[in-house]
């Protein structure tokens, strides 16, 4: 395990070193790509000057809103679909092909409905992320062993106790996969939405920097987005590992 982690770090470090060298020796023009060291430097400057705080906060709120909404909607819709086999047969093809739909085509619709504010961004993030949570919920519920439902009945457990002590723990591995995907889709949805049309947020700031030829600032912000995405995912991954480590069969 440690060997793998070291190798991973090595690969990343080598890649960064390569970028750094390409920029330092002028092989790639500064207008195209800035050196990683400069990205970090610019980012630190931006943060110290208080230039990213507002955009970052706005994006964070939107992503969090979209993420929570997607989880609530996904779990509820998934549970309903799971409970009604006829409904499930009817919507199964839609769920499977959802990934093929570029959900951003609905973004203008959300703006028309909700106005140009944070709301349509939360909506587009949730809209992209919900199907993953629906699918994860259904497959999680499928994975609750029948015999454990029977154990619950022998222990004379009611609906809520069964949910808490049997259903949720059994479905947890699958639910967690859904949570990780939901975060990724919500994050992508929000950033991309800000890119297309919005008055603030990190995606907006990146697009703005791009249009005003502030290459260093653009890359610094991209680095920030990348860093946050990776950090949150790593956090979720670690949490998942803690929760599930001991029960692998």
């Amino acid at each position: 395990m440690r060997g793998v982690a070291l190798t991973r770090l090595g690969v990343i470090a080598a890649f960064i070193a390569l970028l750094e060298a390409l920029c330092r020796f002028g092989i790639v023009k500064p207008l195209t790509l800035v050196a990683p060291s400069r990205m970090v430097g610019t980012l630190i400057d931006l943060i110290q000057a208080g230039d990213v705080g507002d955009d970052a906060a706005r994006t964070a709120i939107e992503v969090a809103g979209a993420f929570v909404l997607a989880i609530l909607l996904g779990v509820s819709i998934g549970a309903v679909i799971h409970a009604i086999p006829r409904l499930r047969r009817a919507v199964a093809p839609v769920l499977v092909s959802w990934y093929a739909v570029p959900s951003f085509v609905f973004y203008p619709l959300f703006i028309a409905l909700l106005g140009l504010s944070e709301a349509p961004l939360i909506a587009i993030g949730a809209f992209s992320a919900t199907p993953a949570m629906v699918v994860a919920t259904i497959s999680g519920l499928d994975r609750v062993p029948r015999v454990l439902r029977r154990v619950a009945r022998v222990h004379r457990m009611g609906f809520w106790d069964t949910l808490r002590h049997i259903t949720l723990p059994s479905a947890l591995p699958s639910l967690f996969t859904g949570v990780k995907l939901a975060f990724a889709y919500a994050f992508i949805g929000v950033i991309a939405g800000e890119f297309i049309l919005s008055g603030g947020g990190l995606g907006y700031a990146i697009a703005y920097a791009y249009e005003s030829f502030e290459t260093a600032k653009m890359y610094a912000l991209m680095l920030l987005v990348l860093g946050v995405g990776v950090a949150v995912n790593a956090g979720l991954h670690t949490w998942e590992g803690r929760l599930l480590r001991r029960r692998q069969r």
Binding site: P145, V147, L148, R150, V151, R153, V154, H155, R156, M157, D161, H165, P169, S170, L172, R246, R247, Q248, R249
Partner: protein, 261 residues
Amino acid sequence: MSTPTAHATLRGVTRIYPSLVHALGPVDLDLRQGEFFSVVGPSGCGKSTLLDVLAGLSAPTSGTIAFEGRPVNGVPDGVGVVFQEDSSFAWLNVQDNVAFGLRRAGMEAAEIKRRVEYALGFMGLRDFATAFPAQLSGGMRQRVCIARTLVMQPRLILLDEPFGALDQQTRLLMGDELLRLWRETGATVMLITHALDEAAMLSDRVGVMSSRPGCFIDLAVTDWPRARDSRIVSDPAFGLLTARLWSSLRAESMKAIGRVA
């Protein structure tokens, strides 16, 4: 007409699955208070189905079932079940698995600890108290499930091939433990097994089931003393009994695998 000492009674019980598979019966059976009753029968004959309806997990298609004089409708209080499949909770360690029912019943921590420790010792799991099911063999996981049922001190214990995943030696020893427990608690036990020697060694009575739809075609009374253990296998009567069970079962087993007796 149930005898005064009948603990559970089944009258004309059948079970036909919605898929129209006639799995069971009609079955008439009295489980006597405190007896050790075993069920043997060919694979797929409806043994697990019998356990299901007796435990109140599914309603019979026809017939009536009573436990302690009251009609069974849902799982009654005082019934413990060990299922054929592994039903340990993968997310709890061994001692938490075993303590599950006691915690739910709101028992005080000291008493839970005492009972769990006793059950773990009993089932040979003491060294694995903090292990998770994933780290155990199939036979050990089944023992966790047995312990989880036993700590509840059920008055009727239903076991569906609980030793199926164990090797022969361990099975004999676990059988001894089960006998000891049965003697100490005075519970009524119904054990489903595919091992004729196990049924012969442990039981007061052995019910032999026909191929599907399962009905009792033989009820063999063993007449063993209550204080018995696995050494009984060297008793000549044990050989005779096993031979009788096999002769009842042989034709049915051949039917079950699609051959003419």
